[in-house]
Symmetry: D2
Subunit: 92 residues, 4 copies
């Protein structure tokens, strides 16, 4: 099932700058084959629902492997059956 | 990897009352074997990261099968490597 | 105090299309004098913390006056004291 | 206008433990006269919309005064005109 989403990952206890971790999370979303667009408070994504959720898993697993001790993600998932969900369709 | 989370599902266009859909989403989280506690703005969950994310997928798929046309989920996922994450440990 | 934020407003029970309400919410954020940029899952804002929060109040009050029966907002607020917070500074 | 809400505040760069800051945020919500109930991923609140939003402002201002360098809040606000919104009414 197709879905759109929004994913923001915040490392806790990694210092005041979180730029490196935000960049890694965005890279993982792109490598997952999702249509991914960065915005100031997250990354907008479009793709299969399973692929989006699996990318969230990958972000947590990889960032912990790379040394992040604590990680919180804020995820929005949107699906609909009346038409193909798309990021473009959510802008008026 | 163990995780804690918070999941709120909101049907759009199903009418002003969303009680039935909120109840179904909570049931799916319980049936997924997650430690699930309802609160006024979502359900707190504790379990394997993959199981939590898979439960989000199941909620979307099943509620659409049951007739919901549009669905938005707000999900928080928290993981840490310094200790076992638990819902209990997040209360002071 | 300066802040950045992200505001998404969702009417419940207004029908499957929420385009009109999303557009009104975005207009109110712009009229509030905030630097406001629409993205697929909300509007990024930059301005005084009080002005951002007051704009959330205005959205709820005005949309209800205009007939929306039920409204949920998802708001992210970010502040920092080490540098001037800006939307531009949150992109890598 | 009455509202219900959910407020989670996360300090960034304050170390892996955020217990002290979470406790302070919850105290400020209680002192604001809001009906406030802690849960694992935030505090549920019930009160006047203006009072809830003003409490968010107070949390940011006071925690920064007390030394927190960077702070992110995740806020949900719900209002409705068909009945008095209440935290109790949101549980099935």
């Amino acid at each position: 099932m197709r879905a759109t989403g929004d994913i923001q990952c915040i490392p806790i206890g990694s210092g005041v700058s979180v730029r490196a971790e935000v960049k890694r999370a965005h890279e993982i979303l792109e490598q997952a084959g999702l249509n991914a667009t960065l915005h100031p408070n997250g990354t907008s994504v479009e793709g299969e629902l399973e692929a989006i959720l699996d990318a969230v898993r990958q972000i947590h697993e990889r960032l912990h492997e790379e040394g992040v001790v604590r990680l919180v993600s804020f995820v929005k998932i949107a699906t609909r059956t009346d038409k193909e969900p798309s990021l473009r369709g959510k802008l008026f």
